[in-house]
């Protein structure tokens, strides 16, 4: 172990999720990691890519601090991109745990072994995103065996990133949509927890995402359940607003799920050259980017 051992005495919640996560998953992780650690909850995760990285990033500076559990020795941080994060966690009073000698490199077996520590450390684990077959589902299983609470975020049924979490919910995980849900469950066993709650501003979305009209829109809907209507996925996204309206019709079709140029052509009934023209300028201005499978929008923040 390296770092602040005191963290182990605190209330710990593990945030787990897939390495290849969606933008939506990142936003969710941001929200929960930030809010939980604002309340003094310590966030544990695995220092892997994707959800783990975001969970550490948004908790290591906060009150609750963060714990990273490694699948490798301290001399071989995996993935290499996260060496910087590893150092930041230590510098900011976090804790890094590894059960392997310093010179051991990560192996796929160790990832699964690491997961049992991630779940074992905590009061409960929060599953943000899990695909159909994933290490995250294994962690959830382990947590169940260890008698830990399993919290899962619900996803749209056709969202490939959410198949695992939805299945967890079906098989008995606790569905949560906000930090309060987690506290409500844990409160019965840990009375001190719920009292921490008022320290955060419940609907202070500004805290983790820049406010845009869409957020205010969403915020109002959360408050007034009467007017809660089905929202289109891209309304929930914190998209940038175009300076120039010329290509708005193309931009409207682009969300955080990759869309191909063919599909955009079909939906707009325009020619490939018109659309590629529009896409080119949107990309040049930094509104969208290319990923495997098509184009996605670049979100504010």
């Amino acid at each position: 172990m390296q770092g602040n051992l005191e963290l182990l005495k605190k209330n710990i919640i593990s945030i787990v999720g897939s390495r290849s996560c969606s933008e939506n998953g990142k936003n969710l992780t941001r929200k929960f990691a930030y809010e939980l650690s604002q309340c003094g909850i310590t966030i544990a995760s695995g220092l892997a890519k994707g959800i783990d990285t975001v969970a550490h990033l948004y908790s290591y500076k906060e009150k609750g601090k963060t714990i990273a559990v490694l699948p490798n020795g301290f001399n071989h941080i995996f993935p290499k991109e996260n060496i910087g994060l590893y150092e930041k966690i230590l510098d900011n009073g976090g804790l890094v745990i590894s059960e392997y000698p310093p010179d051991i490199k990560a192996k796929s077996k160790y990832f699964l072994e690491r997961n049992r520590i991630v779940s074992g450390l905590s009061l409960g684990i929060l599953v943000v995103e899990a695909a159909y077959r994933s290490g995250t589902s294994v962690t959830a299983k382990l947590a169940k065996i260890q008698g830990r609470k399993v919290f899962a975020l619900p996803h749209e049924i056709w969202d490939l990133h959410g198949v695992g979490t939805n299945r967890l919910i079906r098989t008995g995980a606790i569905l949560v949509t906000c930090v309060e849900d987690i506290f409500a469950i844990l409160d019965s066993e840990h009375n001190d927890l719920y009292s921490m709650l008022p320290t955060i501003d419940r609907y202070n979305i500004n805290a983790y995402i820049n406010t845009s009209p869409d957020d205010k829109f969403l915020d109002n809907h959360v408050r007034n359940f009467d007017s809660l209507k089905p929202l289109k996925a891209y309304n929930l996204l914190n998209k940038k607003t175009l300076k120039n309206n010329e290509y708005q019709f193309v931009y409207d079709l682009i969300s955080d799920i990759p869309i191909s140029i063919n599909e955009i052509c079909k939906k707009t009934n325009k020619s490939i050259s018109d659309i590629s023209n529009a896409l080119f300028f949107l990309e040049l201005e930094g509104y969208i980017k290319k990923v495997a499978g098509g184009y996605v929008c670049i979100l504010n923040n």
């Binding site: 290849s20 191909s260 063919n262 490939i272 050259s273 023209n277 990309e283 040049l284 495997a292």
Partner: protein, 226 residues
């Protein structure tokens, strides 16, 4: 006896099409050897007692999957490859080889319902008309230079026939800055833009032609920058 050196596939494809399916499955050294011939349009084979140069002015077409399982980036099915597997697979195609390919296009898998449907699309006959039209424009333009198409333009001729106006130049410049295109891509983008303009029967290269040509250099940004 002077050994007769057999023609390779690339010379057999002279003035034709060389199509390599499943590009990453080829030997890396085989693929890298293609660089020179693709650039110079001749291939030189040297053996102990002879050295022969064959022409190989062909159109080079290749296809590949985005990853070993074939579903990376698909909305339909989850990709089961690890990150490093995908990287390894993609990296079998080196940057220099990729740079020598003018047009990169990503295509989606065909859905079952679409296989049998009869939504009218442009027929090959119509496309042929458009292509012949563009070809004729190019033949006429390059009459005196003994070349047939935009792809054969030399740097000097590119300066002459692919001139950009200041506005277009600015767009190309910012594209290079923002999208991180390679220097080798520059002349290729101009040639493709020239061809798109010819298909449009347009005298000058307009911004829309240029931006379409840049869009066709998308794969290196998407996959090779991982």
């Amino acid at each position: 006896m002077v050994g007769f050196l057999n023609l390779g596939e690339i010379s057999l494809a002279h003035y034709g099409v060389l199509f390599l399916d499943e590009l990453p499955e080829f030997n890396k050294s085989t693929l890298e050897v293609l660089r020179g011939p693709l650039e110079d349009r001749v291939v030189t084979i040297s053996r102990l007692n002879s050295s022969i140069t064959y022409p190989c002015n062909c159109m080079f077409i290749a296809s590949m999957n985005p990853c070993p399982c074939g579903y990376y980036g698909s909305n339909e099915k989850e990709c089961s490859c690890r990150d490093d597997q995908i990287k390894k697979y993609i990296n079998r195609i080196s940057g220099p080889l990729l740079d020598r390919i003018d047009i990169h296009i990503e295509v989606e898998g065909v859905k079952f319902e679409k296989l049998g449907n009869d939504i009218p699309s442009e027929s090959s006959c119509d496309i042929r008309k458009r292509v012949n039209n563009a070809r004729n424009i190019q033949l006429k333009r390059y009459k005196e230079y003994n070349i047939f198409s935009n792809s054969e333009l030399t740097p000097k001729l590119i300066n002459r026939y692919c001139k950009l106006k200041s506005k277009e130049k600015k767009v190309l410049e910012s594209a290079f800055d923002r999208l991180g295109l390679s220097a080798r891509a520059y002349s290729r983008i101009l040639k493709v833009a020239r061809t798109i303009a010819d298909l449009d029967s347009s005298e000058n290269i307009e911004i829309s032609h240029l931006s379409e040509a840049i869009q066709y250099r998308s794969l290196d940004r998407k996959y090779w920058s991982r």
